[in-house]
Symmetry: C2
């Protein structure tokens, strides 16, 4: 490995995903020369700790990216739309965790375990998929390779951290109020989230004319793009549940070629990024509470679908802030530093 | 209507469903002559209030059913197996809320909105289906009649009250402990239930060799029996969520004949026992928190499946203690008192 170090910017450093990015960059000993933390004026001046040093958060503006080689964006779609072009202009490659460029045909949408080579086709920006899509495709890729997936029916159980730090606080505050029989004024969610189930993501009323939510369409469209196969048919119901962290998913898959439950367990146990937790005799299956803070996509409850000749059911759980966001983005960054020509390409073409 | 009144026994009167039965019998002014409350020795002597009077709970034994015309059982499968024969012997018709006789070919399994006529074939016992099955088939029957259902893929979000009063207490106690950063010793659930998601119902480790849970097989087998159509293919993932009351379900249906979302809404809005809540512009869809204490099966998020020519997605919510248990049993009781020859039949054949 080269000993080259890189100048990295984190946009949205003070958010839930930004926080996770810093801890993963540190944990994985990412080869950093300069680490530049960027956020809105509201957060500027705050100091965040990285490898025992305090780094002051700077105000994000058009000139923030001078000298930066990789910019990790996680500050909302409108910020990415505005500042990714500035990062590209400055010669940085952006890894964007928002939905801003995901379906842009000129932007690769990448899960390193699934389609790493797509990174090579970047034009200055690589999009990080939606959290619920990432964990699902990591679990489905080995099955697609072995039996070609025809159709996916997925129902999600998504934690509130996907809606940000304030959503976590609101869930606990509302839970406490309900336990103490007090009235609670919600700020984030349109309906009770503590001790309730909300079939609406995002929480702003964002349903399409066809009745699907934004999040559901993300899962449908992003899955096809990442898998590089438009023939895969996908339907989704995405649901917010009162869990702090880690998304769970009930995934039903129909394949062209029969895959037995044993074969699926075998394929998944060898798959990168996957950890099979599937010993029912021992009461072992993936749980959000166990996946929190962990890197793998956990897969269990693997069984042959009783309603279909070539069908599988499984339960897929991963930490939405790690593999679903920060970790996946940093893995893309690791691919870039392992292929530094992909960084230079950007500079030379601008 | 006849002014005849009936002698009714409630077995398991002190449990969560028993409590609900008493309040529904009162609310619907069920034509009761004598109300006999039965429970285990532990609960005997307790007094429960009914229509302003206190009724003492008696110890359940072989002689408890003398003079009883309808016995409502909700005290666990082993109690039903032991005492339903005693009730039959005494000339009573039993409505059994446990799984003891559901798949017995000599016992009708009934949801009054779906297959009321099956009650006529009873041999002294009518089984009340599993809670998650009841709400699903109420929502699916009108679609099956209109377009013939080929396949169902369902994922459930089931409240803890399905596991009894102690499970509710445990969920709140554990939630409080987590908020206060205290350790909590669970008695009921094998894993954290507060702020977590548990893909295991029942909570005792009850998985089959094929990887499905007991609850999942109930949904699969009971749906076919109630709909009277073995050709319907069903798969299910049943999941416990930290909600006190009301089960939510993401139901994906494939039909032989195309049913549009508008047609489905139209069919469901006319269907008995169903209330359509499906105005996304107003942010209206079924919620567990709103369904609690309500009678209807609420259906919303109705949309045409993007992955299938003849597919529908929908979100189905109902109070598991009411329509999912007590109310359905009492509706069966109401059918019996409206057809008193079905009660006499029992007496004359014994």
């Amino acid at each position: 490995m080269s000993t080259q170090k890189f100048n990295i910017a984190v946009v949205g450093a003070t958010g839930a995903v930004g926080h996770e990015m810093l801890s993963i960059l540190e944990e994985r000993n990412f080869p950093i020369n300069e680490l530049r933390l960027l956020a809105s004026e509201r957060s500027a001046g705050k100091k965040l700790s990285f490898k025992g040093k305090e780094i002051e958060v700077q105000v994000l503006n058009e000139n923030s990216f001078e000298g930066i080689e990789i910019a990790l964006f996680s500050a909302g779609g409108s910020i990415s739309k505005k500042f990714v072009p500035a990062a590209i202009k400055a010669g940085a490659v952006s890894v964007d965790n928002t939905s801003a460029f995901r379906m842009d045909p000129n932007t690769p949408l990448v899960v390193p375990e699934v389609n790493p080579d797509a990174i090579k086709d970047h034009n200055g920006c690589i999009a990080n998929p939606n959290c619920s899509t990432i964990q699902m495709v990591v679990a489905l890729k080995p099955l697609h390779d072995a039996g070609k997936i025809k159709r996916i029916v997925v129902s999600t159980y998504q934690s509130v951290s996907g809606a940000g730090v304030k959503a976590i606080q609101e869930m606990y505050a509302e839970a406490q109020a309900i336990i103490e029989n007090r009235v609670y004024q919600r700020q984030i969610f349109p309906h009770q989230i503590a001790f309730n189930i909300l079939p609406q993501i995002p929480q702003e009323n964002a349903f399409m004319k066809n009745g699907y939510s934004e999040e559901e369409l993300k899962m449908i469209n992003e899955t096809k793009k990442i898998m590089g196969d438009d023939s895969i048919r996908v339907t989704a119901t995405t649901v917010r549940v009162p869990v702090e962290r880690a998304h769970s998913e009930a995934v039903n898959v129909e394949t062209e070629k029969k895959i037995t439950a044993d074969q699926a367990r075998e394929l998944l146990s060898k798959a990168p990024g996957v950890q099979v937790q599937d010993d029912l005799d021992k009461g072992e299956f993936p749980l959000a509470s166990n996946a929190t803070g962990q890197d793998p996509v956990f897969v269990g409850r693997i069984r042959e679908d009783l309603s279909l000749e070539n069908g599988l059911e499984m339960w897929v759980v991963a930490d939405n802030l790690r593999k679903g966001a920060a970790l996946n983005a940093i893995q893309i960054g690791e691919y870039l530093v392992a292929h530094p020509e992909l960084l230079k390409k950007q500079v030379s073409s601008s």
